[in-house]
Amino acid sequence: MNVRPVSFSWTRVGAIFHKELRDYRRNRFVVVFTMSILPLIFIALPIVQLFTIPADIASSRLDTRIGLSMLYMLLIPAIVPSALAAYSVVGEREQGTLEPLLITPIRSEELLIGKALAALAPTLAVAYAIFGIFLAATALFAHPNVDSAVFSSSHLLIQLLFTPLIAGWSIWVGIAISARSSDIRAAQQLSVFASLPPLVIVALMSMNVIAPSTGLAVGLAAALLAIDGLAWRAVATMFDRERLITGS
């Protein structure tokens, strides 16, 4: 019998994506803590820090202070999706929903992309919304020196470019941990730690330890994008249905 291979399907990816978003919306922990309280904490600190910068601060120190403030906001794309991604596989396993899912024609790549996009979409919405609030607060209330430094192209570029890429790293690491873990809490704690390494480079750039330039930022972003792509393939390869179902 000629068996027609089942090819990659965006319909199946979409089914997972929509299911995940519906589930998030009705999950109080996700809505209240991950999507609301956590981002508010990460915006409160940088705004306070920005408003306490003296007007006569030296320009090199100003850049460092602003870089530090903005780094707080990059914690949002690192930490928010890591909690969601860490839950994605082990959570389904604990709920008993993984087996019905895996006995459909869905391929591992489709399942993982669907889960990753579902974690990425709300993360980007929250991260950019928080960044927008931060910029608005700066424009309205900060000293003009601080205002012009925050709105400099390198800071904005770093923030806009690295938000989805850091989230991507965080998501793939979270899913990888989730696929190998048997306990949700352990998976979430590990994922938060594992999501932080890319922030080191961004931190060094934000605080001018590595001289930030558009070229460097774009180059590093391209490298992180490639790493995110490789991470997807690696996670798909290590996604072992048999182990997930039997636990052995």
Binding site: S9, D23, R26, I106, R241
Partner: protein
């Protein structure tokens, strides 16, 4: 090779629905499942070994066995969730290989023991998700038909977490019917259900059987298998027996008569030994169990002999061995073998 005592696939359809089933599934001819010498080991532990059987389209096939016999692992293997250690199989006409996994899973459905529904989602949302995973056309129409099939058309908007266990099981069955599967695997579908919910699930399976859906039913509830299945197989790591329930009874138990008397016979040897059709007898509570060559010929002879001997007969009839008796006979054999 360890084989079942009789491994002939019987494309027999006692209810006459197999032909209808074949056309419904678009799978006329061939077998829905062909399993040959299939084994699965997890390290040193053997889950099931050297299992061979066939299931015809439109057949309801019962897969019985005690806990840990390998029933669920067999289903998961045929559903491409687990790779077999050795042997081969064809599922819905497709060879069981890792590469064919998505194609096989598109043609079958498995209802696991636990319904595995998304508790925060409604019944409709759960089914919409799975309709998307099967890339189905006319999603709304299919969901409506599946919900009507399990008598849940009016509960589409209910959140699954708020449903009773029996209702969740029905939603899981609706989910399994969405893709019009060529083979529907039901893994312990009534496990943990109360008698009313169990009866409802039985009625649903009976309705599917009448529609000619090919069903592979794993259970350790023997009455359930006897009532619902055309054929059953008994697994205890290896396949021990396969056939129609009445065939299995005949194969394991010799024909016999149960006689109940008000007062035991003074000299049973003189009375029962004189009846030509009676081969042997043993004392039973309030009577005797007689091994005979032909129950229909033996019964009148035994009745005449007992009346002649002055016995008061309370009842006389052919022994009815249930599937449970067959099952326990085999399990007892296993226990004996382990002791030896």
């Amino acid at each position: 090779m360890t084989t079942a005592r009789e491994s002939s696939a019987l494309p027999v359809d006692p209810t006459g629905t197999a032909g209808a089933a074949a056309s419904l599934n678009g799978s006329a001819g061939g077998s829905a499942l062909v399993v040959e010498h299939l084994s699965k080991r997890f390290g040193d532990r053997v889950a099931f070994d050297d299992v061979s059987f066939e299931v015809a389209y439109g057949e309801v096939f019962g897969f019985l066995g005690p806990n840990g016999a390998g029933k669920t692992t067999t289903v998961r293997t045929l559903g491409t969730l687990i790779a077999p250690s050795s042997g081969s199989a064809t599922v819905a006409g497709i060879p069981l290989t890792a590469a064919n996994g998505p194609a096989i899973r598109a043609r079958i459905s498995i209802m696991p023991e636990s319904p595995g529904l998304y508790q925060r989602l409604t019944v409709m949302e759960n089914l919409q998700c799975f309709a998307g995973l099967y890339e189905l056309d006319d999603v709304r129409g299919r969901i409506d038909r599946a919900l009507r099939a399990v008598n849940l058309a009016d509960r589409a908007g209910d959140q699954c977490g708020a449903l009773s266990k029996g209702l969740r099981q029905r939603v899981a069955l609706a989910r399994a019917l969405l893709n019009d599967p060529a083979v529907l695997f039901l893994d312990e579908p009534t496990s943990g259900l109360d008698p009313v919910a169990t009866r409802e699930v039985h009625e649903l399976i009976t309705a599917l059987r009448k529609q000619g859906v090919t069903i592979f039913l794993t259970t350790h509830q023997l009455g359930e298998a006897e009532r619902l299945c055309h054929r059953v197989a008994i697994l205890s790591t290896t396949l021990r027996l396969i056939g129609r329930p009445d065939e299995l009874r005949e194969r394991l138990f010799r024909p016999s008569l149960d006689v109940r008397l008000r007062v035991p016979l003074d000299d049973p040897k003189a009375v029962l030994g004189a009846v030509p059709e009676v081969e042997s007898w043993e004392q039973a509570p309030s009577g005797y169990t007689l091994t005979v060559t032909d129950p229909e010929r033996a019964a009148p002879q035994v009745a005449r002999a007992l009346v002649s001997a002055g016995a008061d007969i309370l009842s006389l009839g052919e022994s009815r061995h249930s599937l449970e008796d067959v099952y326990l006979e085999l399990v007892d054999e296993d226990v004996e073998a382990q002791r030896r």
